[in-house]
């Protein structure tokens, strides 16, 4: 299988590469529009700041490439946030694949620490991305901004407020958590994505 990872210099993506290699896939890391468009599956991972990330995507015309894809694509962490309409982080206009705005966590109690970091559970999982899930699964999060619940929510996590742990619209999939750091549960999600 031909798997492309969008290279836009947003944080450490080696763990995504290693996770795919453990599933027997050798992904290519590229910012080449043609290679991305021709891949069977595309991953759009990353950590970092939304404004800089969008600037890089626009400068390299990767915004148009991502929005035009017809094959399954999986955004991870900042990838999910960039696939939304707008982010409060850096007052940033994003890709608009999901017509919803990304918000910053507002702590309500002392226990509400930001960033939301660590293992949290998934509820109401839907679509084949979560095939085989029982509702007891924990996944690993590191983030300060979140996507509210919306019509494209396919998994919900509760932290300060219920938010979208994952989104889906047509061929566009996204997770706020890091499947590549979520042990065997994360491996199952990546395998499910490769099976789409």
């Amino acid at each position: 299988m031909n798997v492309a990872i969008v290279d836009y210099h947003a944080g450490n993506i080696y763990s995504v590469i290693h996770a795919l290699e453990r599933l027997g896939v050798n992904p290519i890391l590229t910012d080449d529009a043609e290679k991305i468009s021709k891949a069977d599956k595309v991953l759009f991972p990353g950590q970092g700041e939304a404004h800089q990330a969008m600037q890089y995507l626009r400068q390299h015309k990767l915004d148009e490439v991502i929005c035009s894809l017809k094959q399954p694509i999986l955004g991870i962490c900042i990838g999910q946030q960039l696939m939304c309409r707008y982010s409060e982080e850096g007052n940033t206009q994003c890709l608009g694949i999901f017509d919803i705005d990304v918000k910053r966590f507002q702590p309500q109690r002392h226990e509400d620490k930001v960033p939301h970091m660590g293992w949290n559970s998934l509820t109401d999982t839907q679509t084949p991305l979560f095939k085989g899930f029982t509702g007891d699964e924990f996944v690993y999060f590191v983030h300060s901004f979140y996507v509210p619940q919306c019509p494209w929510t396919i998994a919900t996590t509760h932290y300060i407020t219920p938010f979208s742990a994952a989104l889906q619209r047509n061929n566009f999939y996204a997770t706020q958590f890091h499947p590549e750091k979520s042990g065997s549960v994360g491996e199952k999600i990546l395998q499910n994505f490769l099976n789409l």
Binding site: N12, A19, Q47, G48, W119
Partner: protein
């Protein structure tokens, strides 16, 4: 709900784990990579690899080990020991570590915390603090593996670290470390209730109840231990079942 974390700590010297282990089914019991995988499979939430090598050659071996861990492990891991400047951080993150833990270097030059946070974000920067409760009741920070006092109070330094951008505080009580009589819950609670970043308890684990007490009375977000896990005195699956039975939210 966000789960409380259980974190085994592995001391590594010249690329090999130092403390003995009771893990069966390992071809190389001293191999940190295999040990890390075994811990990951039995439910550890994170791992800490601490480089206690002194030599330059040993440091290179450690970086190679970090690369192998990153290729093998699918849970987050922190590396510490010998991280003195931003280039050390860069090397560890490039090798695939998720977080770095800094200790003496941060006390000697606190700006290191600001630099790490600015370059890589708060979530990467764990500030480890070794402190001892003195006869007068105050908690004082020590450097160089707990040998040299630096004249800073635990609470002042932890607060400064947070203000400079630290993502987590890993506090080891030198009074409790190795005694296996429980964590320093009073000091931990004072940290947890006054700071806004996660606190990791370290030093003193001997029984499963000690972990419960650190979460319930110490108000910590995570608890770290070494020998009770390495020698198989406490199994992580049993510990997590026990904690769940005590109404503490853990990942099973």
């Amino acid at each position: 709900m966000l789960a409380k974390r259980i974190i085994p700590c592995l001391d590594v010297k010249d690329g090999q784990t130092v403390k003995g282990t009771n893990f069966v089914n390992l071809r190389h019991a001293g191999d940190p990579v295999e040990l890390g995988r075994a811990y990951s499979e039995c439910g550890a939430d994170e791992l800490v690899f601490l480089d206690i090598t002194a030599s330059h050659e040993g440091r290179k071996t450690f970086a190679t080990m970090v690369e192998r861990v990153a290729a093998t492990l699918s849970i987050p891991f922190t590396v510490g020991g010998g991280i003195n400047e931003i280039s050390d951080v860069d090397r560890m993150l490039s090798a695939g570590a998720d977080k770095v833990s800094i200790n003496s270097a941060a006390l000697r030059r606190p700006e290191l915390i600001d630099e790490i946070t600015r370059h890589y974000g708060s979530q990467v920067c764990v500030v480890a603090i070794d402190a001892r409760q003195e006869a007068d009741g105050t908690w004082q920070c020590y450097v160089n593996g707990g040998r040299v006092p630096v004249g800073k109070s635990l609470f002042d330094w932890a607060h400064e670290a947070q203000e400079r951008g630290a993502g987590e505080i890993l506090f080891t009580s030198m009074n409790h470390d190795g005694v296996k009589n429980g964590f320093a819950n009073e000091a931990l609670r004072q940290l947890a209730d006054n700071l806004t970043i996660p606190i990791i308890a370290s030093g003193g684990a001997g029984k499963m109840e000690h972990f419960r007490d650190a979460f319930l009375h110490g108000h910590v977000d995570a608890a770290l231990a070494a020998s009770v896990f390495h020698f198989g005195e406490i199994g992580i699956p049993q510990l997590k079942q026990y904690l769940k039975g005590e109404n503490i939210n853990v990942r099973l």
